[in-house]
């Protein structure tokens, strides 16, 4: 039995399978993004909503009551990619601007990664992971670098971290996650992302002790211990970072306090 969500489209109630619901949500979120600031945005979204309601009713006929992933994909395919909804007049200018700021991506078209904080892989605010996704390296690299830089630049890095934490949005929707990890935002990519999350959930569900009784100690280490070790290492680094952040904040606060008392704003003289 697949989990379902209830949604209202065009005044009708639909039961939608969870994977289908996620794809639909991603699609609508992308659509809203494309239409942001566009003339007649509400009209267009209303048309889409009623059209989706009609297509779902048509696809399900009288025999089914639940909207499946197939239905959603078919409907979204028929409506077209969110970018098709863009105003053709501003199309050219938009593309030019995106190309101009794009340096890291590969051959075809704008695949600009966007910076988000990653709620799935965070120690404090997910800023380090966000940076890692943005520039395409492993989060551990960013964290090690951050800890290293903390010893050199101290409060500056802390302030920078807090600043980024405030201004960088968290990756909430599926399409945010796709944009964060740098795949093109299409229905397919969102589907992949949803399937990825489902697989992860499935893997956690499967009992690891049942499998792999015949594996050698080495493969056991590679497949089981090493990821766990790396994960633990990441955690430790993260906590270390947090500790240093707190200590630095404390020291910084102390400095300001002492500066207020003594009237001397010489940072190193305070210690």
């Amino acid at each position: 039995m697949v989990e379902t969500r209830n949604i209202s489209l065009g005044g009708l109630l639909f039961h939608v399978e969870l994977p289908a619901y996620n794809v639909l949500n991603g699609y609508l979120a992308d659509l809203k993004k494309v239409l942001r600031g566009a003339e007649g945005k509400d009209d267009i979204l209303q048309e889409v909503e009623y059209r989706l309601a009609e297509l779902f009713t048509e696809f399900m006929g009288a025999s089914r009551t639940v909207v499946t992933l197939g239905d959603v994909e078919k409907a979204c395919g028929q409506l077209g990619e969110p970018t098709e909804f863009g105003d053709p007049d501003v199309d050219g200018a938009d593309k030019g601007a995106r190309r101009g700021s794009d340096s890291s991506s590969a051959d075809d078209g704008p695949r600009q990664r966007r910076m988000f904080r990653d709620p799935d892989d965070r120690i404090i605010g997910g800023v380090a992971t966000g940076i890692a996704h943005r520039i395409g390296v492993d989060p551990v690299v960013v964290r090690v670098l951050a800890v290293f830089l903390l010893f050199i630049s101290g409060p500056v890095l802390v302030l920078l971290y807090v600043f980024l934490w405030c201004i960088v949005p968290k990756a909430r929707s599926v399409s945010d996650r796709v944009a964060m990890k740098g795949e093109p935002v299409t229905v397919d990519a969102i589907k992949d992302s949803v399937e990825d999350q489902l697989k992860k959930a499935q893997e956690q569900f499967d009992n690891p002790h049942v499998r792999g009784r015949v594996r050698s100690a080495w493969t056991h280490f590679i497949s089981d211990q090493l990821p766990r070790f790396l994960k633990a290492l990441t955690k430790v680094l993260g906590w270390l970072l947090l500790l240093i952040v707190l200590l630095t904040l404390l020291a910084f606060g102390g400095f300001i306090l002492s500066a207020l008392v003594t009237g001397s704003w010489n940072f190193f003289g305070a210690f």
Binding site: L9, G10, G11, L12, A38, E39, G40, D43, I44, E47, V48, Y50, R51, A53, E54, T57, E58, G77, Q78, L79, G80, E81, P82, E84, F85, G86, D87, P88
Partner: protein, 113 residues
């Protein structure tokens, strides 16, 4: 068809879409899906997404107007019809279209210079 020619064809379709919608509506009011189906039947529309922004723009320009109507099975339907302003726009667009076709065709039949 190569990627480039496909893109050009898509641009052409986009360009004549307003004219086509008005021609569909000249035969009487139609709701969104009717318009979409009519255009798709003659290969003038590949994905529906391009129609909705245009409908909204035409409505705001008073070329179109609409009314809501109940549907026997699905959600309520938005029936569009042409305004008198729309008739004027249609005539102007048809004139441009005829001229456009003539111009393009004249190139293929013109003697070599």
């Amino acid at each position: 068809m190569t990627k480039e020619t496909a893109a050009s064809t898509a641009q052409m379709r986009k360009g004549v879409l307003e004219l086509c919608i008005l021609r569909v509506l000249r035969q009487g009011e139609a709701y969104t899906s009717d318009i979409v189906a009519a255009l798709q039947a003659v290969d003038l529309l590949v994905v529906e997404g391009t129609v909705y922004p245009l409908l909204s723009r035409m409505k705001n320009a008073d070329t179109l107007t609409y009314r809501w109507a109940e549907s026997p099975s699905g959600p309520p339907r938005k029936y569009y019809s042409m305004t008198s302003e729309g008739e004027t726009v249609l005539k102007a667009l048809e004139a441009s279209w005829d001229q456009f076709v003539d111009s393009v065709n004249s190139l293929s039949t013109a003697p070599k210079i």
